[in-house]
Symmetry: C2
Subunit: 499 residues, 2 copies
């Protein structure tokens, strides 16, 4: 092996002009704030102390933690933008909504601190009035609280959520596999747990999809029970144990607030402060560990480092060419963390008309394209925006349709909750995360049954000089922006201790 | 986009000398028959009618089907050998065993016909005398038939296997997702089905691992019930419906026979006959469809074709760079076909001493490293060889150990069945399929719960001018050599109809 310059720099250039056009499309700034070139221009340095792979929240925070400690660090990002799964969308008529991660709630202290540092304010998710529940059997009802008071479902839901909270309270968030029942709970899907413990398991199971489809991009039958319990347990911080309602609710829950200028403002401002520590359009192809160092081969050249932090979703870790190869446990862990399937579909209206009818804009439907609906209007309430999460099984049904067909189905779902006025939006915008080359799904990667106990323990184990960040590696608010921030802080501490 | 020569030919050359050494190691012929260079030497043709990707059984058979019809076809293979998951191992003292797919049984007509065409004879897997069952609770017993007569397990096993056969008999092997109960069965893992239908579910579930670990490289909790039923249903042909015992047994089952010179002799002889239609060391990096044709960019250059057949395991399909991108359904299907985790561990003895004790060499253990054991001696019975499949959960426990530790555990398992003589083999050889770069696991790729109904239907759907082969695409004996052959025949027919 030699130090010869990387010979595969042009890997993607086989796409020729069309490829360049594709890249140009990617390069369209996601927000006006992106309009000025972000990050390091020109050649990358040949040598730094630490390379961070990925400029999502986790990678940027890790970079920040190191840069502020005086470490020579470079964050390389494949896209021409920062933020990863956090992405603003500027509405044609003005106003910002999010196409990716959006909400912030109590105990999400680390994303809160970061937003505060950059002066990004939050506002309460609109929550005055009732929620709406649409059942294909019992019809439409308005309600308040966590669970719709459907008499065919409520008793089961109450029992299940109590049990889930109780079991989750026993989980060590940093080692769920150490629980005495870990293997039994991992053997079981959340779906099986529901079938075992509910009288009307199909009814309550269907309702719970309105939580798992947005929350995991997956259905109860796809999720390891142990993983699900851990995810609930993670919905807290060092002082507050996670609960189902903390995870799922708007009031005092994970959906309590949003960011006034859109959540992506946080990573964008952080990246601006980091300046030359960030390099965009620098997809990593190969990571080589040898001679006491690491060579990171990127689209923009090769950088040598003492340590590397990889802050990329699992499928992208597998796409990197590793030399030496990833250890078997790490490889299998990455292969067994499945990215969810999720898209966000937003309809824009002149006003949030549902508010006038005493509705908060939140709704659950046991069928159709709009299973979980939120008021996604900007802080000003101008325009009014309704958001449907289309995830898991619902994504599999509606995702492959044409945009027009899907639009019709989503609007019909909004109308079933909020009336026919919902059928005539000013605009309809959607974002399918399964189609994002540099994410491959959303909102997070999860464990199918039978894989977390065996593969999970490798989640934060460094591979030689390579360390791991990303929301999937967090022990609080994994799957959320807060988890991403925490993971970046932890990885930075981990690497600093080695330098 | 231009027709410029591929610019990323050297993608793996970043590995430099070590990479070349690695390739040289790969190039060590797996069998003496491989000693003469196999396949096309020198430059690849610029243009053919059809490119087949992968020279496992499926790809070679597809190539053969086209070549014999006068089609100008080229099969490109990443490795320096053919056979894919079919791999001979030449014992130091003489004699051939298989490191990969080995067995052939009734209704596996297509692999049988292919072997016959090339004069590769089969012999009956040694099956005289009793099998051995080792239980950590009830101790060691000898038995005959499909299921050990453990009184704590037998009633449950009998009930379960009857139900599995009955349900499997209702499955349309070409469209398991069309069964009226498909979604319910897909929602459930095999493990949940066992827990629902067995009295001593942990006992019988553990026993069934001795079938799923070798058969899928996975545990019952990882397998969709629908997928499992389909797999059982596939264990047949147009005239004979598949059954559990046909799938799992030696007598009149899938493990009935082996090949006299090792199963890899079949693909090797087929490849020799195909001559210049096969090109080794030609890993495919990119497949581009445009202007009514397909460009296949390989390590040995770019070939233009009218049609392409991809006959590679799902993880490798994802590794190819696709332009345009894979359709979402295909991408998600490939991501949701999980390769099993499996290694084969063989101990070589001067003689098959267990036979003298009236034992057939087959054994099942409810714990330890050797959960499913076969007599793997060559046809001559000289030397004697015992084989342990180490798969799924057992692989996760023993796979990461050092070879010495694992050897000790495997030999202890053999000794528990066949006595202390098993502790002193002449040789010990093993093959871990999870570590094979060009396979990534074994024996097959399977569906976790909740994914087959939604993603399965895309399994044979062509993507433009790209068609799909491989044992996972078969409708009979999927996961087996016979399924690979059938899939290659089907893909060749499909493509011929388009030319």
């Amino acid at each position: 092996m030699t130090d010869a310059p990387l010979t595969d720099l042009s890997r993607r250039s086989v796409l020729g002009a069309a490829g360049v056009a594709g890249l140009a499309a990617l390069a369209v700034p996601a927000t006006p704030a992106d309009a000025q070139p972000l990050g390091r221009q020109g050649r990358l340095p040949k040598r730094v102390d630490v390379v961070v792979v990925g400029a999502g929240l986790a990678g940027l925070v890790a970079t920040d933690g190191l840069a502020r400690a005086g470490v020579d660090v470079l964050c390389v990002e494949a896209r021409r933008r920062v933020g990863g799964r956090v992405l603003n969308h500027h509405l044609d008529g003005g106003g910002v909504i999010e196409s990716g991660g959006a909400f912030i709630g109590p105990t999400q202290d680390r994303i809160a601190a970061l937003a505060k540092r950059f002066g990004v304010r939050t506002f309460l998710e609109y929550n005055d009035g009732n929620s709406v529940y649409v059942s294909s059997t019992t019809g439409r009802m308005e309600y308040s609280g966590t669970v719709p008071p459907d008499p065919t479902i409520l008793p089961d839901a109450a029992t299940l959520l109590t049990r889930i909270d109780q079991m989750a309270s026993e989980i060590d968030v940093s080692a769920p596999w150490a629980h005495p029942s870990a293997r039994d709970w991992d053997a079981m899907s959340l779906g099986e747990f529901i079938r075992r413990n509910a009288v009307n398991s199909s009814g309550v199971g269907n309702l719970i999809k309105s939580w798992t489809q947005p929350g995991f991009g997956a259905d109860p039958d796809e999720l390891s029970l142990l993983y699900t319990l851990w995810y609930v347990a993670c919905s807290g911080n060092e002082e507050n144990v996670g609960t189902f309602s903390r995870n799922s609710d708007t009031a005092d829950g994970a959906q309590e607030r949003r960011f006034v200028k859109g959540s992506q403002t946080v990573p964008i401002r952080l990246a601006r402060e980091l300046g030359d520590h960030v390099a965009l359009g620098a997809a990593v192809r190969t990571i080589e560990q040898r001679h006491g160092g690491v060579l990171v081969h990127t689209r923009r050249g090769t950088v040598r480092a003492k340590r590397v932090i990889v802050a990329a979703p699992p499928p992208l870790v597998l796409d990197i060419e590793w030399y030496p190869r990833l250890p078997t446990r790490r490889l299998q862990l990455m292969r067994h963390l499945d990215m969810g399937q999720l898209m966000k579909c937003d309809a824009v209206y002149k006003t949030p008309f549902w508010r006038d009818a005493g509705l908060n804009g939140f709704g659950v439907n046991d069928s159709g394209a709009a299973r979980a609906v939120f008021d996604n209007s900007p802080a000003s309430g101008d325009p009014g925006v309704l958001l449907a999460f289309v995830g898991g099984q619902t994504w599999r049904t509606y995702g492959p349709m044409s945009k027009d067909e899907r639009r019709e189905a989503v609007l019909a779902g909004f109308a079933a909750m909020f009336g026919d006025e919902a059928l005539e939006p000013l605009d309809y915008v959607e974002h399918d995360w399964t189609k994002e080359q540099w994410t491959r799904g959303g909102p997070t990667a999860f464990h199918a049954p039978g894989t977390m106990v065996d593969f999970g323990p490798a989640i934060r184990t460094p591979f030689g000089r390579v360390h791991w960040a990303g929301t999937e590696t967090a022990t609080y608010w994994s799957g959320y922006m807060d988890g991403a921030v925490r993971s970046g802080e932890r990885a930075a501490r981990e690497v600093r201790a080695t330098l």
